[in-house]
Amino acid sequence: MTDAVISSGHDDETAAEAAERALDEKTFGFWIYLMSDAIIFALLFATFVVMSHNPAAGSASHTLFRLPDTFAKTILLLASSTTLGCSTAATATGQRWRTLAWLGATFLFGLGFVTMEISEFYGMAVAGAGPWRSGFLSAFFTLVGTHAIHVSIGLVWIVLSGCEVTSRGLNPFVVSRLYRLGLFWHFLVIVWIGIFSFVYLPEIL
């Protein structure tokens, strides 16, 4: 890095390089946050697995979860990850409005997911299977609820990013923030893989 700065001998170059390095460092810092978030989710998973044997004679779990709903939520998140990827690709080629359109599609898929989550939680609570019912349900609501809160924060972030792209265009700082939004969102979809594989499917089985 030092060599490159000396050999370039061009003020513009060094300023650009320094700015780029600062953005890369921010991205790496955000990556480390994601890793620590993964550890939080791992502990919630471990808690769930331990507590899943304690239904306290409440509703049996295979009557609580419905396979088509879980599948629909999974497809919504997969679609949102793909559209956000298309948005990132449009950003890389500097297409501002295409970036915005794909961001909008991602927002709609994410909103659909959160809506399905809320209606599922509400339906369970009304049916007397709220988090107060048993250890199993407390752990379930904590794990899946934490994920749903993360996705909701991601939705707010998408809206803010959309506003920024509209008002400021695709300058390097906005592009860097969009990249971190992508990391956050794709990470949440990975957590959902764990949730449908180890929470929903084994309980429906």
Binding site: E20, I39, T47, T70, C86, F173, Y179, F196
Partner: protein, 112 residues
């Protein structure tokens, strides 16, 4: 934030340069297949529950790798070395916490 006004070019770090749409579509197709397999097994119940659980676990692990590769754009090149190292560290911590918790909690009956 110190925003240098002369910064005119787009950032060209490797992750951004090769963000082509094709990679994301390949990832989406693979992810869709790896999602359909476990849901298909659970819906049709062609195997015994224990075998289905093993199939779900294998599909989940492969799908996580697919997402890391095609959506998070993680590869083995030097440019993402720091990310890979921190991911490996997180994986070790995760394994110890998750595995250790289950190991302890499911062996409590051995205590006298």
């Amino acid at each position: 934030m110190a925003a240098p006004p002369r910064l005119s070019k787009m950032p060209t770090s490797p992750q951004r340069r090769k963000s082509t749409i094709k990679g994301y579509l390949v990832g989406a197709v693979l992810a869709l297949v790896l999602t359909a397999i476990p849901f298909g097994f659970v819906a049709t119940r062609t195997l015994r529950p224990k075998q289905i659980f093993v199939a779900i676990s294998i599909a989940a692990i492969i799908q996580v790798v697919v997402h890391l590769r095609y959506f998070l754009r993680l590869d083995l090149k030097p440019s993402s070395q720091n990310k890979s190292i921190s991911l490996c560290f997180a994986a070790v911590v995760l394994f110890i916490l998750f595995g250790g918790t289950l190991w302890i909690m499911f062996n409590l009956n051995y205590r006298k």
